[in-house]
């Protein structure tokens, strides 16, 4: 299928023979390790250094893995418009391979990913059902809160999004099998994404040992679940029950429980720490910026004043809440770098990135480029109001990536966040338990998480 005429020259097979200059290399690397230690300590600072010292294209060295970072709207557009057959996702994230396990690819082939959108749970038609499922799960979590108390934001939203994602994407019966142990196991898996994996993802380090133990525990938990489900009478056959019943030509099971566990992890992973972290940061930002939480609460109160339930229709137009979430995503993108392996030479503006290297864009850098987002460090939801609409810059406002490499779950995630906050803010008042500036991310792992403690107090609202 032919695409629209691109605004800039897009690299393609026909021109790949044409050699260009190599990308300038970032200085200051150590022997062998290159910039890996900076990546593990201050990754966002490292990416800004590439932009400031090399320009819109510059090369880092992560213990021998060469990563070419593209910044600025034009260079990022070249990345986002490139076909997945040229810029491949699977090979770019070696730290994920031991998490998913053998026989489970990162996210399927490009064609499989497109298929998933065509006939699966992320299409618009399914969103109406998902909205109701998320509302039910949010209310169940609120039932456990009682009248007043304190929560750890990371724990609370991790648990909630584990239930919402599994109920929407896998099955409602399967969701009932999950308990809070699962989100703790997931947390260990997420913490196991140390960038030292670019040296070797199986080094005998505590961080990788814990990761492997967490994965083994997950296989154990799920083995139990599937055995129980295989024996039971009645009930619905959900995704994993079907997968486990498939037999090959010799009558042996096509998928092992280890592989199905890997599928479970890969289905849940993309939507878990991302949505959970964004929910926590949204609450923090709304609470620490004067007037914001009041504005959103008044909006939510007005929408649900007639007593209607949280639903797809109700979630469509909640501009202040939506702007608050978007602004949170801009300032705290859950993925600070998006990477792809170059399968055939990639050209941009006279430069060539040869096959075999990685190319990357950084949402953390792009979302704060002052030429696109004036006063970039300020939390300012009015950026998205009519007239300004700074997210119109689809190649610069990139918490979900863009173009051919955009997150397929973006619409689901936005809907989910709006549903969660509609219910939470209708029923509870929140306040930060810690000094506002003490909330920060832990950047020591490739999967970014809030640093604990990150606590907030809550009190049930007195309503008529």
């Amino acid at each position: 299928m032919s695409g629209a005429t691109p605004a800039i020259s897009v690299p393609d097979l026909a021109t790949s023979a044409r050699g260009g200059k190599p990308a300038p290399r970032l200085g200051g690397g150590l022997p062998l390790l290159g910039h890996l230690l900076d990546l593990r300590r201050r990754p966002i600072e490292l990416f800004w250094r590439v932009r400031n010292e090399c320009g819109e294209i510059g090369e880092m060295n992560w213990a021998g893995t060469r990563v070419v970072l593209l910044t600025g709207e034009a260079a990022q557009e070249a990345f986002f418009r490139a076909e997945e057959e040229q810029l491949d996702q699977a090979a770019a994230y070696p730290f994920m391979t031991p998490v998913f396990g053998r026989g489970v690819v990162f996210d399927g082939t490009p064609e499989q990913r497109r298929q998933a959108m065509r006939n699966q749970s992320l299409r618009d038609k399914m969103m109406r059902t998902h909205a109701e499922t998320i509302a039910v799960e949010t209310r169940r979590m609120m039932d456990k809160l009682g009248d007043a108390g304190e929560i750890d934001l990371l724990d609370f939203f991790s648990e909630l999004t584990l239930y919402t994602s599994s109920a929407c994407l896998i099955g409602k019966e399967f969701r009932e099998e999950l308990s809070d142990e699962y989100f703790r196991v997931f947390y260990e898996l997420e913490k196991g994404t140390d960038a030292i994996a670019y040296v070797n993802p199986h080094l005998p380090l505590p961080v990788f040992h814990k990761r492997d133990r967490a994965r083994a525990r997950l296989v154990e938990l799920l083995t139990d679940v599937f055995e129980r489900r295989a024996k039971r009478e009645g009930g619905t056959r959900e995704l994993f029950d079907v997968l486990l019943q498939i037999r090959d030509a010799e009558g042996k099971p096509r998928y092992t429980i280890d592989q199905v566990t890997g599928m479970f992890i890969s289905m849940m992973f993309a939507g878990h720490h991302t949505t959970s972290g964004t929910a926590a940061w949204t609450l923090i930002e709304l609470l620490r910026n004067p007037g914001e939480i009041e504005k959103v609460r008044a909006e939510v109160d007005a929408i649900y004043a007639d007593g209607r339930d949280v639903s797809y229709q109700a979630l469509r137009e909640i501009p202040h809440l939506e702007a608050g979430i978007k602004e949170t995503l801009r300032l705290h993108p859950p993925l600070i770098i998006l990477m792809r392996k170059v399968l055939y030479d990639f050209h941009y503006d006279g430069y060539t990135v040869p096959a075999g290297k990685l190319v990357a864009v950084s949402p953390a850098v792009s979302n704060r480029m002052p030429e696109v987002f004036p006063d970039p460090d300020r939390f300012d939801p009015a950026r998205y109001a009519e007239g300004r609409e700074e997210d119109r810059h689809v190649m610069a406002w990139i918490p979900f990536g863009a173009g051919r490499h955009r997150c397929v779950g973006a619409a689901f995630a936005m809907m989910q966040l709006k549903a969660i906050f509609s219910d939470l803010l209708l029923r509870y008042e929140f306040e930060l338990s810690q000094p506002p500036e003490s909330y920060c991310n832990d950047h020591s792992k490739m999967v970014v998480q809030l640093r604990q403690p990150c606590r907030a107090r809550y009190r049930r609202r007195v309503t008529a």
Partner: protein
């Protein structure tokens, strides 16, 4: 009004097909514009489709 779609951006969510079924249809994993030059009674629906497109792939050129 002229409707155009940037197919590099379209991910096939199908929101436009729900908002304006007379103007958009799914064609495999991408959208197809059924009527790029809609009559005025369809302009409101076209604007909703462009507004709610999750990837902002739909561009409307409004006549002044």
């Amino acid at each position: 009004m002229r409707i155009s779609v940037d197919l590099d951006l379209c991910q096939g969510h199908g929101v436009c097909c729900s908002e304006a079924p007379e103007l958009f249809a799914m064609d495999g994993d991408k959208v197809r514009v059924l009527d790029a030059d809609p009559t005025p009674d369809h302009h409101a629906a076209a604007r909703m489709a462009a507004k709610y497109c999750p990837t902002r792939a739909i561009h409307l050129q409004e006549e002044k």
